[in-house]
């Protein structure tokens, strides 16, 4: 963990601009110095995030870093991806915090919101003075969010919301919940201030994964909202799905960070660990595992970088993001499992990172479109036949 210097076998650094490298290095240093020394303390709690770091995260510009205006840094998508990578090198919970705030709350307000909504929320969210959450998933509808039961009905000039959202990151610490609900005209997005009457958030406990992240259930019972709280530009399921494309893009990079953390740790460990009179790293079986890890990380980096370029050129198709998310999370999980294996018994305690990342990545595999859902999205792209 000390002295983490990335993994760059193919000298991809040479393809990055100065700002891209600086952004990555600044976040890397922050994560090493301010976040990682505290991760164990938070992982040992059951769903807690170091909230006192939020002002610093905001100061660094980590919320909505690729958005323009309203106090956002306006970085390109390569820099944004590298930032996500570095955050997840710390912990998937840290990256999730930034992904939700930036990709799932600020992005939709920026894209679908009214000027009044943008002026009110974006500067507050960018500065970390307000926290947001994204409520799409329900107890009975995850992958098939289109089946949602949460309803918004007309109520005078405004709306009345009823329903339950589950698995909502940052639900109980949020000041504003972006709640997706069914209306007579189709699915719409609503900005619900969490102090409204009828809104309640309860934390979900007992998670083996993403323990350093708050996951909540949202209960909405006759929550009254003015029309001004509806996102005017968001019509139908494609709106929340477009947000997910943003967040998934960040995950494709984030997963590389988790994989690099595991790889870096295990290379150091196997060099020092003596078995049968020699370092574990000197054994053929170990080397085969390390080579697999390095190859997969390198391929994932190339994939992410190309997807980033396409995104910056405005030529990214959502199925490309599916390919990158699906592949990179999958290989990160394999890397984490192999690293855990090589650490032996040490690998099962939280003094080492591998198992924490491995368990986190189980969530990352499931959220933002499960591995299999992305398989089916790509399957449809190839064949033109939807199996979803």
């Amino acid at each position: 963990m000390a002295g983490f210097d990335g993994v760059d076998f193919l000298r991809l650094d040479a393809l990055l601009s100065d700002e891209e490298k600086l952004a990555r290095d600044s976040v890397r240093e922050f994560v090493s110095r301010e976040f990682l020394p505290r991760i164990q303390e938070f992982v040992r709690q059951d769903g807690a995030f170091p909230m006192d770091l939020v002002p610093q995260l905001a100061e660094l510009g980590l919320f909505g870093a690729n958005l323009h205006g309203y106090g956002c840094a306006g970085m390109n998508n390569v820099a944004y991806g590298l930032v996500m990578q570095e955050l997840e090198r710390g912990d998937s919970g840290l990256r999730s915090f930034a992904s939700v705030q930036g990709g799932l709350v600020m992005y939709p307000i920026r894209t679908y919101g009214s000027d009044e909504q943008k002026d009110r929320w974006l500067p507050e969210l960018a500065a970390g003075r307000a926290i947001g959450c994204f409520g799409l998933t329900e107890p009975d509808f995850g992958s098939h969010a289109g089946g949602m039961l949460c309803r918004a009905v007309r109520h005078g000039d405004g709306w009345l919301l009823n329903g339950t959202k589950r698995w909502i990151t940052n639900g109980s610490v949020a000041d504003v919940a972006l709640v997706w609900a069914r209306t007579d005209a189709g699915i719409r997005g609503f900005l619900v201030e969490t102090d409204r009457k009828g809104f309640e958030a309860r934390d979900m406990k007992g998670k083996f994964s993403l323990r350093a992240s708050i996951t909540s259930e949202l209960f909405l019972q006759d929550v009254e909202l003015p029309e001004a709280n509806r996102l005017p530009g968001a019509e139908g399921l494609k709106a929340p799905l477009s947000c997910l494309t943003q967040a998934r893009y960040g995950i494709a990079w984030g997963a590389i960070g988790a994989a690099m953390a595991c790889y870096d740790e295990v290379v150091r460990y196997t060099r020092d660990r003596m078995v049968q009179g020699g370092p574990l790293a000197g054994k053929q079986l170990t080397q085969e595992k390390l080579v697999f890890m390095l190859s997969e990380i390198t391929k994932a980096q190339l994939l992410a970088l190309r997807v980033a370029q396409l995104k910056d050129q405005g030529e990214l198709h959502h199925s490309m993001v599916s390919l990158a998310k699906r592949n990179n999370v999958d290989i990160a999980l394999s890397v984490a499992r192999l690293a855990r294996d090589l650490l032996g018994a040490n690998g099962i305690v939280d003094d080492y990172q591998a198992m924490r990342h491995m368990l986190n990545l189980e969530t990352v595999r499931t959220y933002e479109g499960t591995h299999d859902v992305h398989t089916l999205i790509l399957g449809k792209e190839i064949t033109g036949l939807s199996a979803l």
Binding site: G3, D5, D18, E19, K21, A23, L60, L62, A79
Partner: protein, 260 residues
């Protein structure tokens, strides 16, 4: 008010170092560099003064192309302007040669305050800042652990032997070389990094500064003849036992050696 901060880029503290072919320095290819940590405190101190009021912060560094990264980081942290003295002829200069280059910059820029780190972590001479002050003809102090300003006077706490502090006052313009730890160094923010793209970074040579004949190995009066890793000792002793036993044995040993 104008503040000039001297920054040096040094090998990253976690870099694996190998000695170069002729045994006079380390191999610099393919290792990572960072801003000398003492200098980051100097920069932070300048930025704190800037945050508190009107100040322009100029960062200056001597070194090859890679130094751009250090200067861009400094600009990303909030410095306003950078000067990069990039000239292969300067290579091989001793501390005095380096101080002459910086003095030439200072004479052009006329800063009210020059801040530098107490020493560089690679060469450890701690010589450039006092030499620079003398060459510019301004007062200086070193090892500052606290810097306070009122009007044209600076009051600095200096760290001296035995953990005591000495308090000195200096009239501006002056130079202060800071000890590490006197403030909490900020990170370059993403917005700062984006803004840094538009900030001026001027590149100069020794000739531009009129000191071409005073720098480089030819002008140096001190030259490094050899660097070597410490010899492998055979005097190390492994103290074994429970933590309590180890502590007791260590105390006995320290007393035996008359260190206590």
């Amino acid at each position: 008010m104008k503040i000039m901060v001297c920054l040096k880029q040094v090998p990253h503290q976690d870099a694996r170092l190998d000695i170069n072919g002729d045994g006079t320095w380390i191999q610099e290819d393919n290792i990572k560099f960072e801003i000398n940590s003492y200098d980051t405190y100097a920069l932070e101190e300048a930025l704190l003064i800037k945050d508190a009021g009107e100040a322009e912060v100029l960062v200056v560094s001597i070194g090859p192309d890679r130094v751009t990264q250090a200067l861009r980081t400094a600009l990303g942290m909030g410095a306003d302007r950078a000067i990069h003295v990039n000239d292969p002829e300067i290579q091989g200069s001793d501390s005095l040669g380096m101080a002459k280059v910086l003095a030439a910059v200072a004479k052009e820029e006329n800063p009210d305050l020059i801040l530098a780190g107490l020493m560089s972590e690679d060469a450890n001479y701690a010589a450039v800042p006092p030499m620079l002050a003398e060459l510019v003809g301004i007062p200086h102090t070193t090892a500052a652990v606290k810097v306070e300003r009122s009007n044209g006077t600076l009051t600095c706490d200096r760290e001296i032997e035995g953990g005591a502090n000495e308090v000195v006052t200096l009239e501006a313009p002056c130079l202060v070389a800071v000890q590490s730890g006197l403030n909490q160094v900020r990170y370059a923010s993403l917005k700062g990094i984006m803004a840094a793209k538009k900030k001026p970074l001027d590149v100069k040579t020794a000739a531009d500064l009129g000191v071409a004949d005073q720098v480089g190995a030819g002008a140096a009066k001190v030259s490094v003849t050899q660097i070597a890793p410490p010899p492998k000792g055979d005097t190390a002793e492994l103290v074994e036992g429970s933590p309590d036993e180890i502590a007791a044995k260590l105390v006995t040993k320290i007393k035996e050696l008359g260190l206590l």
